[in-house]
Symmetry: C2
């Protein structure tokens, strides 16, 4: 494996962990930016210094964010927050890097969930490659496995793709508590955000399934440029807010449990609460995520692990960086 | 991905499936041999014809096996039976391909379990690469995940690595039947061989763990050529033949179950029956395999699927072929 020179955009938990761990994986960070500042050094930035300054003064360096995008890097790591609709500013960052024939690794789901056809068109016109393992299932090697085993051979990908929703359902089932009670508890523990809508309404899981559906769809197209594209608006999504505790009790009585299951096929995306038998691979507990492929030659493959977290997601980003030649 | 020209040695379930599926994955078979015959064609052999002849007449073509090894291929797929000790003839096949600067993909565990240092030395002197995903866990992407996520960051790999043993233990537990009874049933179903020693004594699981230990050990060495090498004789192995039904009952009474668990660390290999809680990822049922990594940044990653079978193992071989540049 060759060491790469990284520009990291985004200084949240994931971007920060990428900067912290890059050297462990044999790479060098030459640029690092948050939304209002940047640290750039062609000989490698002072990672610890930049992270320390971010914590103390909410800036990673003295430079302008545009300096990081203009720096001389091999791989752009895009770890700014996921946005819906036009997926900006992530999309413009991807465009800037690919137009310079640089590789891009995404942690930001927006560009591949909301503008998949556009980013693939940019990639076709570029000598650079685009990878996005970290956008689906955190630490779990979902997209690498799809790529290696052939997405054309996978008829469906389904899974537990939101740790917050799964934590809430697990607790409601195990303790017989109501949704509002467990949500408040999850917020206290930092497992749920103050505004939990993105997680509990199924949006986050749906975005991940949309990405999977795009990969499955393009693999089946004779001409990838003509592949059917999916966006969030194409997904059928139901969240967990309206599940009464009594429904979980009823499920338990029949020996089953309820999970927020997302499913992607080459034809579309569905996310919603489903009854699953207790022995099922889908009956994971707590914040863990799981992805299950139905593969023509392998049967069912199950991959599970932590679906979120800074170092976990950064490890998936750095696995992608390592796959680039 | 580039299509490759394959020479496939071994015409059992795995070699046959590689030949059958190669075109699906974008590759071409230019040579195919069993122990006494070969089909060679620089323009691509007639796959269906060779497989049909193998079934009818126990020969894949009119050529000599040596012709396949001498053919003009890009990647040698070594799928002859695993042998212990000197790992022949697999080892000589690997040597012949690497000495011609060709890539090698192994389904045969022998060379990497019994002569890891030797094959790595051959690889260092070659422009060819050696991959061996199919040697551990059948369809499960074990070694690709290790490579992508950095074997240096994995402190232990453990798992359920023999489907026959796991089937027998699952049935003994579920039905309260004795070992001999369930073994006979497994033999009737084709899940156990007429001579089951290799599976039930833990040898097969141990070989897979030895391969994992070699990968973990070499990743930690300053100089890979100086890495500590493991062979089957270094493993501490206990099988399932002597487990009384009463022990399984006792485990059930305390809410647990017994599984044949293999564990590899950079320091060594242990395989033996272990008590596992029912909610544990290790409590897989039937012939399924599972591998669990302890990763410094990702926590626990679990990968499970079919650990054996022609098409399943061939898919892992072809995933390796696809990873070659």
């Amino acid at each position: 494996m060759t060491g790469h020179r990284l520009a990291v955009l985004g200084a949240g938990a994931v971007g920060g962990s990428v900067v912290e761990l890059a050297a462990d994986y044999g790479h060098e960070v030459v640029a690092f930016a948050d939304s209002s500042s940047a640290a750039v050094d062609p000989d490698g930035i002072d990672e610890a210094g930049a992270l320390d300054r971010k914590e103390r003064a909410d800036a990673v360096g003295d430079g302008d964010p545009a300096d990081a995008l203009a720096a001389d890097y091999d791989v752009l790591v895009e770890a700014t927050p996921t946005t819906l609709g036009d997926a900006e500013p992530g999309y413009s960052h991807v465009e800037a890097a690919l137009s310079r024939d640089r590789d891009v690794v995404l942690a930001n789901k927006g560009p591949v969930a909301e503008r998949f056809a556009d980013v693939r068109a940019l990639e076709r016109d570029s000598a650079g490659d685009l990878l996005f393992e970290a956008t689906v299932g955190g630490a779990i090697p979902v997209l690498a496995t799809l790529a290696d085993y052939g997405p054309r051979n996978v008829s469906a990908a389904r899974g537990i793709l939101n740790g917050t929703a799964n934590f809430i359902l697990s607790r409601m089932t195990a303790e017989g508590l109501g949704y509002e009670h467990v949500l408040a508890e999850a917020q206290d523990l930092g497992v749920a955000e103050a505004d939990p809508a993105f997680d509990v309404q199924g949006t986050d899981a749906a975005l991940k399934c949309v990405i999977l559906a795009n990969v499955l769809s393009e693999a089946r197209a004779d001409d990838p440029a003509e592949a059917r594209e999916f966006q969030l608006t194409d997904a059928t999504v139901e969240g967990i807010e309206d599940i009464p505790g009594s429904a979980l009790e009823l499920a338990s009585e029949s020996g089953r449990t309820v999970r927020l299951v997302g499913e992607a096929t080459p034809e579309g995306v569905r996310v919603g609460p489903r009854l699953v038998p207790p022995g099922s691979s889908l009956a994971v507990s707590g914040t863990r995520n799981l992805v299950q492929f139905e593969h023509e030659h392998c049967g069912q493959l199950n991959l599970s692990g932590r679906g979120a977290g800074g170092p976990e997601t950064a490890a998936a980003v750095l696995a992608d960086v390592g796959r680039l030649s």
